[in-house]
Symmetry: D2
Subunit: 162 residues, 4 copies
């Protein structure tokens, strides 16, 4: 997927801001998920296998696959947003293309286009099995910038106003 | 959304089969999720608020919203499938329309169309806040029937053959 | 699909404004499409069968099905927007659930949720065959309001600023 | 987007089969669309600007953008299918990321994963303006192989059996 016009971060503290926001996601902690590579317009999230993350056949649940694709997509977008903004997932679509079977899942998201209000991110999720990465899902997300509302503990997002 | 032609369950044990499969999902146990109403072509899943299920502003994480919508959609489809089949999520799309804020989330899914190989389910997710239900997400899913492979402990699904 | 909180039109001229905008769509004219029922938050578009609208088996092309679902969804949203606004399709997802075979296609769209910037619409497309309506597609769309830019001939929309 | 395992065509006549099927699409003829580059797992469709293809602001209608993305995605998948098969669009999702403004639209689709029954294709649509290509939409499609039913004039597809 070609990226139309590269955008640069406007907030010099973007990396700290993004990692701190990720650190406040209770669900990611619960999953034992970690943020890996983080670049302008790109974000990686990894989660190791645990029985608590499975569907009925013992593979990673599609909900885990989608959750890390969703979070990585939002944070890839958030790297390019201003300091006093929050990020909001508007919607996404995900295709599951192979079983999420293995010792680890890795979601890699990248910004496809970044507009004034909306950003589009694409993500691929890979299952690592015996050291080999297998594409198990691919997604396309729409993310909204909420201007003037820093993403901080205690700074609730009024989603209803979108 | 109109449902085109109503289909009836073909497996007399459909309810037990569906609830047992749900019981094998480690992620749903981890979430403390419960299967509520289950009818032919319809399924409800509920999850109570916990800090472990949040995003960075303390609301339910979109991953929780999507996970229960996904599971409810698959199980609504599974009510209509034969005894020796398994259910596989092919893809879904979800729109987040209001913050998932409240004491409980409820996903309600229904089959829109059930074909020989593929079933389409729609789901709405409601946040219960102060006793009132607010629509917070809506999704559309494609689900595949894997014929001749009962969904049982030890019966791994070869997703790769889809 | 439940509609969360009903919204009322803010522009007393909404019906004329919507029908005039539809009249400027060259593609809809080319298809011979007509706008049917139009209510606050609801829009219907119909197109009669012609060989020019087919895919390789002689049914309506999926592109026709999607185009009228897309236009109906946008105009359902546009009924609720102010006079000096334009409407922009951000994205949609469509499932094709039965062949679009028959003498006519009818798309019926309704607003699921209308926010300050974004509106979510759902649409069902029916094929009319021998007088009977058969659901052939269902879609979910995200639509954006461009404030302060009336949708008029000569008033180009700067999509790039979204 | 990484492609997991490259698949090769199984039908030596795949190119002729695909181009002939495209030639039977009344809608593509109506649009004046042409099939450009065609490789195993890849397909390009181009359409030149005409007033008949516009939305209300004189740009290409989203329905045109989506139609060529949809057709290119299906035909990219069809290159890898056997001689006696037909191709069926199950669903797709498309994001519009910039105005489809210019003298030509080009959809480029590629297979992301090809399974026994289902194929996932991704497509990007570019608007050519003053010789420059600008990404204006990106899509993700699910395509089904109907085995044992050659795609020929007079060979109707029983979509209802999917």
């Amino acid at each position: 997927m070609k990226t139309s016009k590269k955008k640069l971060p406007v907030d010099p503290q973007w990396e700290r801001r993004v990692r701190e926001s990720f650190g406040r996601q209770g669900l990611m902690r619960q999953f034992g998920a970690e943020m890996g590579v983080l670049r302008a317009g790109e974000c990686e999230i990894r989660v190791a296998y645990r029985e608590e993350l499975t569907q009925q056949h013992g593979f990673f649940h599609g909900g885990v696959t989608a959750s890390i694709a969703d979070s990585a997509s939002g944070y890839a977008a958030y790297t390019l947003m201003p300091a006093d903004s929050s990020v909001l997932a508007v919607e996404y679509k995900i295709n599951f293309v192979a079983p999420a079977e293995g010792e680890m899942l890795i979601a890699r998201a990248r910004v496809v286009r970044s507009g004034k209000t909306l950003t589009i991110s694409a993500a691929d999720v890979f299952a690592v099995k015996g050291g080999e990465e297998i594409l198990c899902a691919t997604s396309l997300s729409t993310i909204m910038e909420l201007a003037g509302r820093a993403d901080r503990a205690g700074g609730p997002v009024e989603h209803s106003s979108s």
